[in-house]
């Protein structure tokens, strides 16, 4: 009878029993804001989740596909601006604005990033870096969208529908958590699908990929589109969280670099990489800023710089520590 057992039917109860570690971790994440209750701690946790989300989004093009894009802050900004301005101009609910922002980011990236796909390695990185900075300058000088002064979102009564909360930061935390769970599920699926295999093949060798029937330009575009779509979604979350957006704080070079360094520190092209990288980086950055106050300006840059140098010694990132045979053995024992 063993032969007839269907392969892919997973019973949920068994799934949770086998993956109780994930269940525990998720429960811990749900309870975390009640363990650390200070406002600032909540702020840091939200930032961590947001950058986990952004790192996962970047991972699709930068990690799995190996195209190191350094202009993602621009799409983060496009997402924030689209939802905010659509609300102010047309009264469009930010939840819809979030998707509209994603679609707009995909359209913009298709126009400006597609030509970049002809470039490789560092040249691709430089081109996307430059494009990201150009978009920031455009926004800074664009009167219609508020120019350098930015956009202030009107205060509304707090509700999930309005995507605004004033008395507590908790809802933002849980929204970010849901978004992270969503992107994890999507990446988990992609990793095991044709798309995931094709993206990894492109990273390894474009020549081999082409010879195996992979339309390299098309799949790079697909990866980039998925990536910037989610990046723009995070932009909306940020705008609704801060309720004020301007090009200088939204699209600095630092954001682009951070979006890239988070998954690279954790392990580029791995599902868990961004979730490992984001807490380390963001906690270090936010706390150095808080403790050192005005005198600490720039410390966060130093931290990112130091981590980038450290990555040279472990190109696989933190997840590469968990991929040895000994760890696997231990993991199998734990999972029973």
């Amino acid at each position: 009878m063993g032969r007839l057992k269907p392969l892919m039917v997973r019973q949920p109860r068994i799934f949770w029993r086998k993956n109780y570690i994930f269940a525990l971790a998720f429960a811990l994440l749900l309870a975390l804001p009640f363990i650390f209750t200070a406002h600032f701690q909540h702020h840091v946790m939200i930032k961590v989740l947001m950058f986990t989300f952004l790192g996962c989004a970047w991972n699709i093009i930068g990690g799995y596909t190996g195209q190191v894009a350094l202009g993602h802050a621009a799409f983060f900004g496009i997402g924030a601006y689209t939802s905010s301005l659509c609300y102010i101009w047309f009264g469009l609910n930010p939840w819809f604005g979030m998707f509209l922002g994603g679609i707009l980011a995909v359209a913009v990236s298709a126009v400006i990033n597609y030509p970049c796909f002809r470039l490789h390695g560092r040249y691709f990185a430089i081109a996307t870096l430059a494009l990201g900075m150009i978009i920031r300058l455009l926004f800074t000088n664009w009167r219609l969208v508020g120019g350098a002064l930015g956009v202030r979102l009107p205060l509304l009564p707090e509700s999930l529908w309005n995507f605004q909360f004033h008395t507590t930061k908790l809802p933002y935390y849980y929204i970010a958590l849901v978004l992270c769970a969503l992107i994890f599920a999507i990446l988990y699926k992609i990793e095991r699908s044709k798309l995931g295999f094709y993206l990894r093949a492109i990273k390894e060798s474009e020549e081999a990929a082409r010879s195996l029937g992979i339309d390299v330009a098309k799949y790079k575009l697909v990866a980039m589109s998925i990536s910037v779509f989610f990046t723009a979604m995070a932009g909306t979350l940020y705008a609704q969280y801060i309720l004020y957006i301007d090009p200088i704080s939204l699209m600095p070079l630092m954001t682009s670099i951070l979006i890239c360094v988070v998954p690279v520190l954790g392990g580029a092209g791995t599902l868990w990489g961004p979730a490992l990288g984001a807490p380390i980086l963001l906690i270090a950055i936010e706390y150095s800023r808080a403790w050192l106050g005005g005198g600490g300006r720039g410390i966060d840059y130093m931290i990112v710089g130091a981590i980038m140098v450290a990555i040279i010694f472990r190109p696989g990132g933190l997840t590469s520590f968990f991929q040895g045979p000994r760890f696997r053995q231990w993991w199998r024992r734990i999972r029973g």
């Binding site: 892919m8 044709k194 295999f197 093949a201 390894e204 081999a208 010879s211 029937g213 992979i214 390299v216």
Partner: protein, 248 residues
């Protein structure tokens, strides 16, 4: 109808004529060998057929369809697969995953792709290597893997670019067996090779290139004794003869 019909194919790199109006016809089910000294344009010829380089002049037809200057991925989808002279293994993917990438050319289902890949690893004699990373395989295994990966795209014509270079005699013998098995599956082969002992008995027809020009095309026995071929490539006449004899 010929399976592959190349007419007047010319490829120029700046001033250098790498392929000079080459003609080649391949019938369904054949094994055709492509030989010639280094730099005679064999790999360029492959790359022109496979859409890696744009062709300067001439035409390529596959199963009656014009495929000249098609992009490489379309050529593969159309039914021509190739291996690389310098192995192009996907280093950070396991052997199984390497072949699965090829299998995804004809299916979108991951389980189906895994089945196809496992079958082909078995077929090419690598079943126990399936979980080994591409970078950890030996050169012989990498070459087999490359063939398995190409086969996973379900080609009707397979181009092998020096699949036996760097292999020891035992490995070469296994590779020959593999090529024969591929032929029995009904796949036509165009093989670039330098190892004469291998290619002479294997191929039904040999095409000889020299400095981008086709200097001979015939059955191996006559090629081995062709004046021009010996002068351009085979070298000593006795060496060529011995090669044919040994194979019999």
């Amino acid at each position: 109808m010929k399976l592959l019909e190349v007419k007047g194919l010319t490829k120029k790199f700046a001033g250098l004529v790498a392929n000079d109006s080459l003609d080649l016809e391949i019938d369904q089910g054949e094994i055709v060998g492509l030989i010639g000294p280094n730099g005679s344009g064999k790999t360029t010829f492959f790359n022109c057929i496979c859409g890696v380089y744009p062709v300067t002049k001439g035409s390529v037809r596959f199963e009656g369809r014009e495929i000249t200057n098609f992009p490489a991925h379309k050529i593969c989808k159309g039914g021509i697969a190739r291996t690389f002279q310098l192995v192009n293994t996907l280093m950070n993917m396991t052997a199984l995953e390497n072949v699965m990438v090829g299998a995804f050319c004809r299916t979108t289902n991951t389980n189906r792709a895994r089945e196809i890949a496992e079958e082909l690893l078995e077929f090419s004699g690598l079943p126990e290597k399936k979980d080994i990373l591409g970078s950890d395989l030996t050169i012989a295994d990498k070459k087999r893997l490359e063939v398995a990966r190409a086969l996973a795209t379900k080609p009707r014509l397979l181009l092998l670019d020096e699949a036996m270079a760097g292999l020891n005699p035992t490995e070469q013998k296994e590779a020959v067996e593999l090529i024969r098995r591929i032929q029995r599956e009904g796949i036509t082969l165009l093989v670039v090779e330098h190892v004469m002992q291998v290619i002479m008995p294997l191929c039904e027809r040999l095409v000889v290139l020299d400095a981008g020009k086709k200097i001979a095309a015939d059955v191996p026995e006559r090629i081995a004794n062709d004046e021009r071929v010996i002068k351009a490539y085979l070298g000593e006449r006795y060496y060529a003869k011995r090669a044919t004899l040994r194979s019999e």
